[in-house]
Symmetry: D2
Subunit: 199 residues, 4 copies
């Protein structure tokens, strides 16, 4: 049996809007992942100077000429074992701030790793419409989204400003998702270590 | 029978990438719409100073404090009869530059009008995966996408840099789409004029 | 101004499962449409002897050799002005009983008419995941789904066995949907009468 | 390192239509999987007496009262390591014959295994629109679809009636898909053997 290694997860926060709720959800998920014994790093589009995508990293022939923040973020992404997206829903679609940031990186930085979808909305349906597009998007990036989707309706009532959960469903929901993510992260990390990845 | 009026269509171009192919497709569609006797205006995210969405127009309590370009573009959009989106496909999803620009406007500026999807890719599948998300996105915005989808595979071989088509399928494809769009634009414009729109 | 005609709507019920909840929803929608002054006909897959699709109507070279029920149902569909689908959600997808029945008819029987999505589930998300696939499916059939989607969470608590609503949201939800459907049905019927449909 | 075991894959064929092309594709895929050293079993809805779903296996309180074919097929599915779906595209949606058959089984029979999407159409877009819904469907069933999607345009020209490929792209396309499927199948089978699956 393969050795147990501490997993590292990148959490992509998917909103830069004024008064965004996503930061609450992201803070909560970071904490839950840490309590599940993971290393976690938050990629926040407000703190990464990515404008609307004009040139993804893999289109630079000489990657040393790419923006420094992008090269460094990519290094972290490559080293990670799993991805979590914290996604709002804008007009039943993926928030542009989320896809825009993720589009900056090559598929190879995501591939052969699992991902998990956390989606939320101010209304009753918890962002589940955006989640349907996210399954396709994450699949194409190469990081297969685990079966469970953690949907959070009326997010404004679910967390305080620091990401502290205000109802019981939040912790049990996160646990179920993280359990599936962690299982797949170990399965894939062990297999990457054992045989590498297909060329 | 209602009077025939010249339709006005807004074409949203969905890419700001270096060497974007979308400008070729947009130029072609603008010309085809004009030849079908429409007024056309191109909304190009490279020429509209929208960064990643922090505040859509309808979130300004006093809209006179919103950016001038946004107020003016919204006025044009409200006055239009139909919408065309010219969409690339990034990782099987809607290009962020497209959804980001459209998210700036309230649904009421799109509602009770038809829309048409033109999608393209450098590969064989013509952007049809992004089109599936676009149907949902445009539906939620209120501008129902007509049945036909004009998908353009290997777009780099389909137009020259000025948008001149290099194969016969382009003109027949555009015609089929515009015929459906124009039919619905007249149906809806006539009915808006006759009875207004639901409150 | 075009004359006001009484609209005719076909309601497709999308389940044949034991103890299906869809019949409650369909009964409710039929009643709401009638109260909104529409002629309504219910297409129930339990009452139409369609097995798994082996041959759609438009694949019969001589349509008089097609099953009688199919020919008659198609006649009603062609004469209708609008479509409503009452859809469960099975594994985040369209219930096969719904798509299977609708696939029996040619697109031309649906085209240039509006449609409305009513979706439900026993859980919190009201069938909204299936609705995303339904938008694409209905768009391809030619009957554009109106912007509003009427999603019904915990359907088992929302209606009694006769389709009588058990909470206030049901009637207001149905009204909003029917208002949009009716607007588009009149717009398109008037335009079909005025200019026909594109060949 | 975990021992290498021969993987077993279930291929779901997704059509019962007259003159279905799917059988050609399924025969081809079965052969390709066998050549890649897999055990393969074909689940063909024409040979399994599943009508439109009235009661899935997991709704029988006493499973010994369920249809024998269903109990036996479920046993094979549970024992399998991977899933392949061979899917047509009907009106931009999943063919009902495919979802209908798969809906008969509980998610637990699919879970913690990878799946692969093979889609085809008679037209240029290779069934890619149905593939977008399939990603969501397979994700909910618990068998995560690998990143690559093998799309087959103009399928009528791609295989003869015995499933012999008529162009070079078929074998290279299948190989790429099977390589990804096999990698994930081993990763997950090893991890199931090592730690079981989450309860």
């Amino acid at each position: 049996m393969a050795a147990v290694k501490k997993m590292t997860t990148i959490v992509f926060l998917g909103s830069v809007r004024e008064n965004r709720m996503g930061l609450r959800v992201a803070k909560f998920m970071v904490k839950q992942l840490q309590e599940a014994n993971q290393n976690v790093e938050l990629f926040d589009p407000l703190e990464m100077p990515a404008g609307l995508l004009t040139k993804p990293l893999h289109h630079y022939q000489d990657r040393s000429t790419a923006p420094q923040w992008l090269v460094e973020a990519d290094k972290k992404l490559r080293a990670a074992d799993a991805i979590v997206v914290v996604s709002a829903e804008y007009n039943h679609a993926i928030p542009p701030a989320l896809s825009n940031l993720m589009d900056h990186f090559p598929c190879s930085s995501f591939a052969y790793k699992p991902s998990a979808i956390v989606c939320y909305s101010m209304g009753p349906f918890g962002g589940m419409r955006a989640a349907m597009s996210l399954r396709c998007f994450l699949g194409e990036l190469g990081c297969l989204s685990v079966s469970n989707i953690f949907g959070i309706p009326t997010v404004q009532n679910a967390f305080d400003a620091d990401g502290k959960p205000l109802n019981d469903r939040m912790i049990s929901g996160a646990k179920m998702l993280i359990t599936q993510l962690d299982w797949h992260a170990h399965a894939m990390a062990n297999h990457r270590n054992a045989v590498g990845i297909p060329s």
